[in-house]
């Protein structure tokens, strides 16, 4: 029993480090699997069935919402004729379009600020030798696992206390879209840091040292060697953060003031008011947007892995 984890860890290290070796190992295991068909009990029959059912479970709700967004009828269980009337209606609804623009704005600011802070933090955590490294790391992870209700309530209280405090100096500070942005940045930093740090730690430091040996300045090596290798991870994390901010409900819920509300909050009020096919249309639009962005991020991430393989190859 006690030996097993060690064997595993050794095995995983072999797979993790040289990325080139990994695909080779995978294909060989697949081919042997094909050559020697699994014995009867190798693959229990329920496995493919459960998997298929789970995929249906995961996709059915999304497809249903999309399908009914094109329904000419108000009904949620009778489909009339295909129509775009709910989309037309929402484009001409100034409250919804206002919320949409507010959400995009919030997500953009959140993306830029948290990507910068998160990337800096990743560099600091990987490269600095400091007694603050570990506490900062733990702080970041704690932030990542805290339920949003808890952080949301905490932000709500700190913002209203700060508002009362600043009022003494004649400064107006209340809940607004600004506080929403502050809240979103707070939960986003950790995601950027973890993604960028993963890449940074995997990066071969020798390549940067080689650049320095070849006469590059510190800044030059960073600009010409390190950052180009990190860009895909940074952009991918930025896109992820954009999507999470754009979709966020709970933190926004606690930090929004009166006035224009972010789109998820608008949807929440609409659901409270009653189910209308307009929600299906908004939901479908949001899904198309976020899933397109996520796929872009994923494409970048895969390209990044290829780039890393090339680099590992050069290093050898």
């Amino acid at each position: 029993m006690s030996e097993r984890p060690q064997v595993l860890r050794a095995g995983s290290a072999v797979i993790e480090q040289p990325r080139i070796a990994a695909p080779a190992a995978q294909t060989s295991s697949i081919t042997t699997g094909r050559r020697r068909p699994p014995r009867g009990f190798d693959r229990p029959r329920f496995l493919p069935m459960v998997t298929a059912l789970v995929f249906i479970y995961l996709f059915a709700p999304i497809l249903v919402v999309t399908w009914f967004s094109f329904n000419s009828k108000q009904s949620l269980n009778v489909f009339g004729t295909p129509s775009l009337k709910w989309y037309d209606q929402l484009i001409h609804d100034p409250i919804i379009t206002g919320s949409l623009f507010a959400s995009v704005e919030i997500a953009l600011v959140t993306m830029v600020v948290s990507t910068v802070i998160g990337t800096l933090l990743a560099f600091g955590l990987v490269r600095a030798r400091s007694r603050f490294s570990r506490p900062t790391d733990i702080l970041m992870l704690l932030n990542l696992v805290s339920p949003e209700v808890v952080t949301g309530v905490a932000l709500l209280l700190v913002f209203s206390e700060a508002g009362g405090f600043l009022l003494q100096f004649g400064i107006q500070f209340g809940l607004s879209l600004t506080t929403v942005v502050l809240g979103h940045i707070t939960f986003s930093i950790a995601y950027v840091t973890i993604i960028v740090r993963g890449r940074l730690a995997a990066l071969n430091r020798e390549v940067e040292e080689a650049a320095l040996d070849l006469g590059a300045t510190n800044v030059g090596a960073m600009r010409l060697v390190t950052l180009p290798l990190l860009w895909p991870a940074i952009i991918a994390s930025g896109l992820l953060v954009f999507v999470m901010s754009f979709d966020d409900f709970i933190t926004s819920y606690f930090t929004t003031g009166v006035g224009v509300e972010p789109l998820p909050l608008r949807i929440y009020s609409m659901i409270h008011f009653g189910v209308t096919p307009e929600i299906n249309a908004v939901g479908t639009l949001m899904m198309v947007m976020t899933i397109a962005i996520v796929l872009a991020a994923l494409a970048l991430f895969t390209r990044q892995q290829n780039a890393r393989q090339e680099l590992a190859f050069l290093a050898e």
Binding site: L53, L121, M140, L155, G283, M286
Partner: protein
């Protein structure tokens, strides 16, 4: 050596941000939880520890128990349906493995509220399922009540967080050496014995990571219970929410938040203890 100073400097913005907007807010929550309110309901600081007594008031015990039951139920359900899927993809996914994993996570990126609302569309009294039942002439009238039941809420929670169970288990299965299973078979283990003695212990880290990633947010969730549930599916998140937004008593909400945070921290400590070497893949 000057470069170390530069790297240390880069820690500062993130650390300061988290101190100001993550740590300090908790100080305020603690302060509010011990305070009271003035005549217009604004928090006033003071020393009123009875706010914490109220958390364990018999009136609220059902809410706490229900929250725990929903979170545990959600985690177990995610495990029971997530493990086979992770296993199927890791072992038999072949070259489609990455694609299948992307497909698992993709629905999660649809808007959180829209996903919950989608279940309302499907299960509601005038929803898709009742419509279908009516169409085939089965039990359509009166409609079957799915929403406002604990099943709808737990089903919604499972839907919300299932990918977070599948991903770490998948990562653990992928890291595991398949020849270990072969060895189990060579030693004449039945598939069940092999699973129990080889695969399960080798992937327990992934399971624990998944349980944390599903369980923690499930405990704090309130929108799912709000939309798919009713008064009889009230969770601690709803109770906290009411204290701050629906004319409740903020100090009590703050006390609830602190108690929730302490319970979750205990779970986290347990997790960190059992996962001696948390790897990047599990996060």
């Amino acid at each position: 050596m000057t470069s170390n100073r530069l790297w240390r400097l880069l820690l500062a913005p993130g650390a300061i941000w988290l101190l100001l907007l993550f740590v300090a807010p908790f100080g305020v929550v603690i302060a509010v939880s011990l305070g009271t309110t003035d005549f217009i309901g604004r928090p006033v600081f003071g020393w009123y520890p009875e706010n914490y007594q109220q958390v364990f008031d018999p009136i609220f015990i059902p809410v706490l128990v229900r929250t725990a039951a929903f979170a545990i139920g959600t985690t177990l359900l995610c495990l029971v349906i997530g493990y086979p899927v992770a296993y199927m993809i890791a072992r038999y996914g072949g070259r489609f493995r990455n694609l299948l994993i992307v497909l698992i996570i993709l629905p999660w990126f649809a808007d959180y509220l829209v996903r919950i609302y989608a279940w309302y569309v499907i299960l509601g009294n005038e929803g898709v399922v009742n419509g279908l039942l009516q169409a085939i002439g089965l039990h359509g009238n009166p409609p079957i009540t799915f929403v406002n039941t604990p099943f709808a809420v737990v089903g919604g929670l499972v839907y919300d967080y299932l990918p977070f169970m599948i991903l770490p288990i998948y990562a653990a299965l992928e890291r595991m050496d398949p020849s270990l299973i072969e060895a189990g078979k060579d030693l004449y283990g039945t598939p069940f014995q092999t699973f129990l003695n080889v695969t399960w212990p080798a992937t327990i880290q992934g399971v624990i990571a998944g349980a944390v990633l599903v369980g923690l947010p499930a405990v704090g969730d309130f929108a799912t219970a709000q939309i798919l549930g009713g008064p009889n599916t009230y969770m601690i998140g709803n109770l906290i929410n009411d204290q701050f937004t629906n004319g409740g008593y903020p100090p009590f909400g703050a006390a609830l938040t602190i108690v929730l945070m302490i319970l979750l921290s205990l779970l986290m400590v347990f997790y960190l203890r059992s996962a001696s070497a948390p790897s990047e893949a599990t996060i």
